[in-house]
């Protein structure tokens, strides 16, 4: 028999398990992007004037900006921004009061994804703000949350019902013209989630949103804003899958987190969008801006992500450590297989005193995929006592993939302590043989070894998410060995 590296070459990629298209009538805006389309979106959503202005300003900024095509280690096809639909909504009469009123076709979609809402509601105690295309269709557990003063709703609802909060915080972490994709998102975002945790409240359940791209050729521009007021705590889960299709789908989300004094936000993601087929056709383009501001003293934000999907991933969840003694964490597992490309990492900006950050990144490349860890640790002059620990480990499966590590360090405070460790290794044939000698098949062996490699990160995920993530690692690596 040949060695594992040899087997990698010969095999077709995995069948994307969540590839199907839901048949729900869609309401589409005409193709293209201009001020009229933005006005249409804003009008459809019944938005206040200030938000329309905000969008238009973002759009005007965007027009003068350039795609980040050169500095990331990514190559991707030309994106025809004028050929996309910027608004799509499932046709529904009125807002559903309960799951019973939700379009059964939608519910079936979630079931195929293994996310039966009812079951989640009954068994897991998870409140779900399910996003289907651009409009939220079901929100559960809201009452329970409301009792504690917690707001968990779609961004559209937040704009209607909590305009002051939205106005105060929207764009306060990721300015509307922060970068090309953030500006585009700011101009045309159609929905997303909004969370506000009042002072002193520990959110009693994990808040969870499942994103799903469905409408053909509809760009997805989700906008998420989470504000944890003084002394509060929230754990938020984001997970997503998409149906199989041929054309590339653009996704440019923005996530903003704000933690005030003594508050903590834990944001976990399992990302499993369609990665394209084994030849590299199709797949999601994922250009995401995620940033958290530790605005108050002793505040803490952790990003934990398991990234297995998308054809192209451009994503750097970051922490701006403004408050003294604030803490930022980034724990990441990224798997690329076949022709996937990922340029991902984090930024830790140490502004306050005695701020600490930890970065643990585990990258696994298989097939002909390419992966880059790009991380910035920056300490400003006032950031006395700043500490960072960075560990980046790359694991290569087969001989045709690539892994690159690009750490940037800028310290303007001599007192800062910054540590960086990086390793790159090939998957250990001896470990695989040991597993196989015990009867474990090669794919399961790879999955075990990879799970072990990612352990430090996986154990940071909430329990139920960790189980899902482990399965996903196995699924993503299917076809990487025979």
């Amino acid at each position: 028999m040949s060695d594992v590296s040899g087997q990698v070459e010969g095999l077709a990629g995995e069948q994307y398990k969540y590839g199907f298209v839901t048949d729900v009538e869609q309401e589409l805006a005409p193709r293209g992007l201009n001020e009229d389309i933005i006005r249409l979106i804003s009008e459809k959503k019944g938005e206040p004037e200030w938000l329309l202005e905000w969008r238009l300003n973002a759009y005007r900024g965007w027009q003068g900006m350039e795609e980040p095509r050169h500095w990331p280690k990514l190559t991707f096809e030309k994106i025809e921004y004028q050929n996309l639909h910027y608004y799509a909504a499932p046709k529904q009469q009125a807002k559903p009061e309960s799951l019973d009123e939700v379009d059964p076709e939608l519910l079936r979609t979630y079931e195929k994804l293994g996310i039966p809402l009812q079951e989640q509601e009954w068994l897991a105690g998870v409140a779900v703000d399910a996003v289907f295309d651009s409009v939220s269709v079901a929100t559960t557990f809201r009452e329970q949350l409301e009792e504690q003063g917690i707001i968990f709703c779609s961004m559209s609802e937040a704009v209607q019902n909590h305009p002051d909060l939205v106005r105060r915080y929207l764009g306060s972490v990721v300015p509307k013209t922060d970068n090309f994709f953030a500006a585009l998102n700011s101009a045309v975002f159609t929905d997303g989630s909004f969370v506000y945790i009042p002072p002193g409240v520990k959110c009693p359940m994990e808040l969870s949103t499942y994103f799903r791209i469905n409408a053909s050729e509809t760009g997805q521009f989700e906008r998420t804003l989470i504000v944890a007021d003084k002394g509060s705590y929230v754990s938020y889960l984001e997970g997503c899958t998409a149906p199989q299709r041929d054309e590339n789908q653009l996704h440019a989300a923005v996530v903003e987190l704000v933690a005030l004094d003594d508050a903590e936000i834990k944001y976990s993601t399992v990302q499993n969008w369609y990665p394209g087929d084994a030849e590299g056709r199709g797949g999601i383009y994922n250009f995401v801006t995620k940033r958290g501001a530790c605005r108050g003293k002793n505040s803490k934000i952790s990003w934990t992500q398991v990234e297995t999907g998308s054809a192209v991933t451009w994503k750097y969840p970051s922490c701006v450590l403004q408050g003294d003694n604030s803490v930022g964490e980034f724990y990441s597992v990224a798997i690329t297989n076949n022709h996937q490309q990922a340029d991902t990492g984090t930024k830790m900006i140490h502004i306050g005193r005695n701020t600490r950050s930890t970065i643990i990144s585990k990258g696994i490349s298989a097939g002909q995929s390419n992966q880059t860890y790009r991380g910035l640790v920056k300490v400003l002059p006032r950031g006395e006592g700043a500490r960072n620990f960075t560990q980046c480990d790359s694991l290569l499966i087969g001989g045709r993939c690539g892994a690159h590590t690009v750490p940037y360090v800028e310290s303007r405070n001599p007192d800062a302590q910054l540590e960086h460790e990086a390793t790159t290794s090939k998957i250990d044939e001896d470990q695989l043989f040991y597993c196989r000698q015990r009867g474990i098949d090669p794919e399961e062996a790879v999955s075990l070894v990879v799970n072990g490699f990612c352990k430090d990160v996986l154990q940071k995920l909430p329990m139920e998410f960790a189980v899902e993530a482990q399965k996903l690692l196995g699924i993503s690596l299917e076809g990487s060995v025979g």
């Binding site: 196989r436 000698q437 015990r438 009867g439 072990g452 430090d456």
Partner: protein
């Protein structure tokens, strides 16, 4: 059970085994002894299906099937077990998790029901206790930071859990203290039945005092130079391998 016929094996163009013949029947235990570098582990690895060895001649049947055509995991599921001379560490993978995957892979193959997490932990604990492996060790990553002796005990535990038809023990006794040697030997003897066979590779007579072999073979220079009964080790212990390695001298 296992028939090896004129087996020739090369590594990177160098012939390591040049003509091995062996007939191991169900119910039998054969020991293989021989100087360092004579090819004992090579034989064990080839039987288990490790990469990097070229079989340049001869063949092997296992339960009447062509062994060399089978993938390593198929051999294992069919009941061939190798206790490694140098067990591998698998960081981050809890020993129980690993063992459960292995046991269930074999059970699925046998058409038996998989064991659930709870049931498995109980089973592993029970069998582990007999081998001096405690809970804490089972929770640690596979072999990671295990002492030499602990690794060998874990190999024995795996054998006990997988209940193989053919067990190949490659120096499972080396690195064991006197008590552990006895514990491990007890574990091995517990598996000795009419329908199982074992190939025990060792340098020392000690182990063979506990696991009494039916046949003993001396491997030198890639060939079985001498075979005898359970008294052969004592003779070797007195004379060493010199006469066998250079019979002409």
């Amino acid at each position: 059970m296992l028939k090896i016929h004129d087996l020739h094996v090369a590594v990177d163009g160098t012939e390591i085994l040049n003509g091995i013949d062996l007939d191991l029947k169900a119910g039998e235990v054969h020991a293989i002894m021989g100087p360092n570098g004579s090819g004992k582990s090579t034989l064990a690895n080839v039987l288990a299906g490790r990469d990097g060895y070229d079989v340049t001649g001869g063949g092997v049947t296992f339960k009447e099937h062509d062994l060399l055509g089978m993938a390593p995991e198929e051999r294992a599921r069919e009941g061939l077990f190798l206790a490694f001379q140098y067990p591998v560490e698998i960081p981050g993978v809890a020993t129980t998790t690993f063992l459960k995957h292995a046991v269930n892979a074999v059970r699925r193959h046998r058409g038996e029901e998989e064991v659930d997490a709870m049931g498995f932990v109980k089973l592993a604990r029970e069998k582990g206790r007999a081998l001096g492996i405690d809970d804490a060790m089972l929770k640690r990553p596979v072999n990671a930071g295990f002492s030499g002796g602990e690794k060998k005990r874990l190999e024995t535990l795996q054998m006990a859990l997988l209940e193989p038809g053919l067990a190949i023990l490659d120096e499972t006794d080396s690195g064991l203290d006197i008590d552990a040697l006895k514990t491990v030997a007890d574990g091995v003897n517990a598996l000795r039945t009419e329908d199982r066979a074992m190939l025990v590779i060792t340098h020392y007579q000690r182990l063979l005092d506990y696991i009494v072999p039916d046949r003993v073979h001396v491997l030198a220079q890639g060939r079985i130079m001498r075979s005898g009964d359970k008294d052969l080790p004592a003779e070797l212990e007195r004379q060493g391998y010199a006469d066998l390695v250079n019979p002409a001298a």
